[in-house]
């Protein structure tokens, strides 16, 4: 009985984190899948969202900026607004150049943000991080608070999914695909390529910021190591490629599948003796990387590949 209750709680936490990763993957899908923007600063935007929400919702403390005690809905909204503004600045510099530059700049943003988090101790409590972040529904009894939080995450994922699906089917989404497939043609058709790219980049980053905010509220604690490149950026990329980029169902599926694989393998390695456990953690990253390479080379479409509309045949 005790054991099955434990497993029940574990599955809830697995689904909650899977849902948060699904948000990140959906955000990346708008950027990479539909528009072809190569963002490797996911961790940076994630951390911006997490810290903004954490600072705005925590009670008064001397360790870091705070004491606003705003409701979490406002924290979530603020984190989306701030991430959007920063993404807009990055986009202004990089989106007119080819994707490689965006990749370099976004990896830089991630690093710069980590420096800010570590050095501006007055605002962020430096490497020790922000703790005591309130968690939605935490006043409820034990399994129900976790279930309600999970429900909040899943509802958010579904809402984001429906919004993106609607956007992709609209003329806006078709322009996005046109830009990815043939930029000169889209330009020749009179589309403002820069503006569409910027919109996709900013919207994608906003969703990443929201996912960060959810993580901060869920874990009740956030520190600069949460932005570590391997666990966030890389996993999200692998999730999207494995699930199927340019397909929102694939993105969500990839997030849940890879998150399950990732945390289940952690359970396996943590059973090993200490020294071995630390080392095999690196083997996990290596194998995830290898999975990415195999998918890229053999199944670039992912588990659920992109659905392309059939070209309409002109009547003879």
């Amino acid at each position: 009985m005790e054991q099955s209750y434990g497993i029940f709680l574990y599955i809830i936490s697995l689904a909650t984190m899977g849902g948060i990763y699904a948000m990140l993957t959906l955000g990346l899908n708008i950027q990479w899948g539909f528009t072809g923007l190569f963002n490797v600063g996911i961790a940076g935007f994630f951390a911006i969202g997490a810290y903004v929400s954490a600072i705005l919702t925590t009670p008064e403390t001397t360790r870091h900026l705070g004491g606003f005690e705003l409701p979490y809905i406002l924290g979530f909204s603020a984190s989306m607004v701030v991430t959007a503004l920063i993404a807009w600045g990055v986009g202004k510099v990089c989106l007119r150049l080819r994707s490689d530059y965006l990749a370099i700049a976004t990896i830089g943003i991630g690093e710069i943000f980590r420096l800010v988090l570590k050095n501006e101790t007055w605002a962020t409590n430096g490497p020790r991080g922000v703790s005591m972040i309130p968690k939605p529904f935490e006043s409820l009894a034990e399994p129900y608070n976790q279930l309600m939080f999970l429900a909040l995450v899943l509802v958010t994922v579904v809402v984001i999914y429906l919004l993106i699906e609607a956007a992709c089917k609209s003329p806006w989404g078709r322009v996005m695909t046109a830009i990815r497939e043939n930029e000169p043609a889209a330009r020749a058709a009179g589309k403002n390529v820069e503006r569409f790219r910027m919109e996709a980049f900013v919207i994608g980053c906003m969703i990443m910021g929201l996912a960060g905010a959810f993580t901060a509220q869920y874990l009740k604690f956030i520190d600069p190591n949460a932005t570590e490149l391997t666990t966030t950026t890389f996993l999200v990329w692998v999730m999207l490629i494995v699930g199927g980029s340019a397909n929102n169902k694939g993105a969500i599926l990839g997030a849940f599948v890879m998150w399950t694989v990732w945390s289940a393998s952690e359970i396996l390695t943590s059973r090993l003796p200490d020294d071995m456990a630390i080392r095999t953690a690196y083997v996990r990253i290596f194998l995830i990387g290898l999975a990415l390479q195999i998918m890229l080379q053999k199944f670039p479409g992912g588990i659920i590949p992109e659905k392309r509309p059939k070209p309409s045949r002109s009547p003879e």
Binding site: F38, L97, D100, G108, F234, I285, F286, Q297
Partner: protein, 299 residues
């Protein structure tokens, strides 16, 4: 006078040392960017790998790191050529962003292998602290800094001779400037690609070993250099090896000089933000002149 010597000893010389390391690393980045047409995210890990090869060889032989360097360069080159064959070559005809993504994966794969084999503890390449030598009464320069600067000059001369005097070097520059024209004149693409990896990996290994010789051996050392090296390549102009050398030196110097108390007695920039300097220079360059100082390519 004392203030001037302090400036030279504690800011200028470390800046030149760091700049030479960035310069050597950035040459590989810029050549890959120019010739293979992609931003190689795994270049920092190539450095780290070279450093760990050197460290391992030093455990089994009694030689100085500089003596071992050619051997570890060779090992690094072999690994990098293998990576190219297995992970990058299938994408030669694909959109370049596929290779960028593959290199991003390779970055983490190589790093995790290094962490698995050698562990994450700090290691030293040379034991103990060296006393700086006193030249002309007040010019202090530590022997290892002299060794690094001198070796970097030798390597830069070697690159210069390769690029300006040999057929393959000229072909590399031609390929970087205009791939279509180069192909029309009958330059073999695959041979140039291999040479690019050989040059890039050897220089990356050397740069890494110089950094480890100056500081210590660490699994994240290459990744920390990635951003300054990209910044150096963009500052110098993508595809321009001489630009990358100039860019590397400028970035290294500006990084070190940014924490000098230019105004008042406080450092101009909190040393904690030193790593952000390269990024700031890169962003300004992308805004002002994306082709870089040496008029490189803009993609």
């Amino acid at each position: 006078m004392i203030a001037l010597m302090e400036f030279i000893n504690f800011y200028l010389i470390p800046g030149v040392v760091l700049g030479s390391i960035y310069a050597l690393g950035a040459v590989g980045i810029t050549l890959t960017f120019g010739i293979l047409r992609f931003a190689n995210f795994a270049h920092g890990e190539t450095m780290t790998l070279g450093v760990y090869f050197t460290w391992t060889l030093m455990q089994i032989t009694p030689f100085h790191p500089l003596v071992i360097l050619p051997a570890s360069m060779l090992l690094t080159v072999i690994v990098v050529l293998g990576i190219d064959r297995v992970f990058y070559k299938p994408f030669r005809a694909s959109p370049t962003i596929m290779v960028v993504m593959a290199s991003f994966g390779i970055m983490l794969m190589v790093r995790s292998i290094i962490q698995f084999i050698w562990g994450v503890q700090l290691k030293g390449l040379v034991p103990g602290i060296q006393r700086p030598m006193l030249l002309f009464d007040s010019l202090r320069i530590s022997p290892k800094h002299m060794v690094i600067i001198a070796s970097a000059v030798v390597l830069v001369l070697a690159i210069h001779l390769l690029l300006s005097r040999t057929k393959i070097g000229k072909a590399m520059r031609a390929m970087s400037d205009s791939p279509e024209l180069a192909r029309l004149t009958g330059i073999g693409t695959e041979k140039i690609v291999m040479t690019t990896w050989v040059v890039g990996a050897s220089l990356a290994c050397a740069a890494g070993v110089f950094l480890a010789y100056d500081t210590h051996v660490e699994t994240m050392m290459g990744f920390k250099l990635l951003l300054p090296m990209f910044a150096a390549a963009i500052l110098g102009g993508v595809g321009k090896p001489y630009g990358a050398i100039a860019g590397g030196l400028i970035i290294g110097l500006v990084e070190e000089l940014s924490s000098y108390p230019w105004i008042g007695t406080e450092p101009l920039l909190n040393p904690g933000y030193k790593a952000g300097v390269a990024f700031a220079i890169m962003v300004l360059m992308l805004l002002w002149r994306p082709s870089g100082l040496f008029r490189g390519r803009v993609f």
